[in-house]
Symmetry: C2
Subunit: 274 residues, 2 copies
């Protein structure tokens, strides 16, 4: 079996030796990364963006990303980029979707594998290399619009959203179509990546415990509930939430004042693995 030969009478060893990848056009492949965290009182999602220091989209804000290299997985490339950008390790990181629309990058053919990272604390960040600047943006996501704000820099990026339905086999799906309404915009097709990431996070958070990646190692239930409410974009009933979450957490025995709002002290919890 090892010595099997192909139509040209070559063994595998011989075949690989003479194999010429040829002149097929090949794309560059990058790993772009959506880094999400929560603000101080868990009332808003934050997205890390870099300001582009070169064409194309010079001066626009973009997702951090970098080339995937031959001796690494795309996941590793994303991880490297995340660590360079935030200095953080051991962070939640998951593949979202791969974007390959022609001309999505005006320079050359680029396919992007998009990743989602969830950080428990907003890291200090500053621009480097190809970036003029780097900053956390407040992210608001509703059925009607996506909005990104950075007050310090007085930047606002706003897209209206329209729902479009399309058929896939027997099934009908709904898609969000963004249209820019602000002066500033996100570079490339990054707004589409953002939409996919939020959709996926909202679908998964109830099953996959991603909320625990957005809080400290110990937390209060009001804090955890605030994370769910902010991610899902709707309020939850306190009692139902606590019933739902009860067997995924355990008390540490300590008390703690919530980062959310002041009042009575809270019991402190940690994530219970099982």
């Amino acid at each position: 079996m090892k010595k099997a030969v192909n139509k040209d009478g070559l063994t595998e060893e011989e075949f690989l030796k003479q194999y010429d990848p040829g002149d097929y056009n090949r794309p560059s492949v990058t790993a772009d990364i959506l880094i999400l965290g929560m603000n101080e009182d868990y009332s808003s999602l934050k997205l890390l963006l870099i300001k582009r220091g070169n064409h194309p989209f010079l001066g626009s804000w973009a997702l951090p990303g970098g080339f995937v290299e031959e001796n690494e997985t795309a996941h590793k490339a994303a991880k490297r980029e995340l660590e360079e950008e935030t200095g953080l390790t051991g962070i939640y990181l998951d593949q979202i979707y791969t974007f390959s629309k022609p001309k999505r990058d005006p320079r050359t053919w680029v396919i992007t594998i998009a990743y989602l990272a969830l950080v428990p604390n907003l890291a200090e960040v500053e621009g480097r290399d190809d970036a003029d600047d780097c900053a956390w943006f407040d992210l608001k996501f509703t059925d009607k619009a996506i909005e990104l704000y950075n007050e310090e820099r007085d930047v606002q990026i706003v897209y209206d959203l329209r729902k479009e339905s399309f058929k896939n086999g027997a099934i009908r799906y709904e898609n969000y179509i963004p249209s820019l309404v602000s002066e500033e915009r996100l570079a490339f097709d990054h707004v589409e990546i953002l939409i996919e990431a939020i959709k996926k996070l909202r679908e998964q958070i109830n099953y996959n415990n991603q909320a625990f990646c957005l809080v400290d190692e110990t937390f209060t239930l009001p804090e955890l509930q605030a994370v769910y409410e902010t991610v899902l974009g709707r309020p939850l009933y306190k009692k139902s939430f606590r019933d739902m979450i009860s067997d995924r957490v355990e008390e540490t025995g300590n008390d703690k004042t919530s980062k959310t709002k002041s009042g009575r002290k809270c019991k402190e919890y940690r994530f219970k693995e099982e």
Copy 2:
């Protein structure tokens, strides 16, 4: 804003004109496609495989796939491949995951975007071009093993499965690790693609109605239930299933004998869009 210049004093137009993608190594990118259907009585999933006619993995069975070209999305490449292979159009097709492990193809650097297709009828197929042969395989998937059978050709491909848990941020995930136990194997890392696809299908089928892509346009509830049971790998209670599905289907008014098992005639239903 249009006339903004970068550090080298170039406008965007000038920059793009002089831009040189350079000698960065670039991967080939392929779209591999997992084509799933059901057997005659909905008791088993079927997977379409092609037998490789050249090195590497000469004589092994593999997922169909093809190169993504510069003027198309990966989705379109997958669709083209699906139509070439089965002659079918209007089929459910969705991106699963992108695989980029170094050396996953011994010829050259290849990154694969994996797609899942669900066909309502098993198309007639035959090998072409680079494939010696092309056939539907019975697919069995349990917590312990993945098994692929084609009786006509007397081929069996079996992998034992082991669960491994790993951490991603604060969360612990479980993964299936396959180990080959049969003589025959799937080419490349295609068994890993298969595992991801089945996992995703099982997670989604309750919410995303993919089952309707695996039956005819009209169907009986015993047939539909058989699809769910086969995909999920466990029996469902008849009454619970019918309650669960009732507002997603509507009666056509006709009667029909199920493809599953004989007995009393069934009411015929169709998918109700909403």
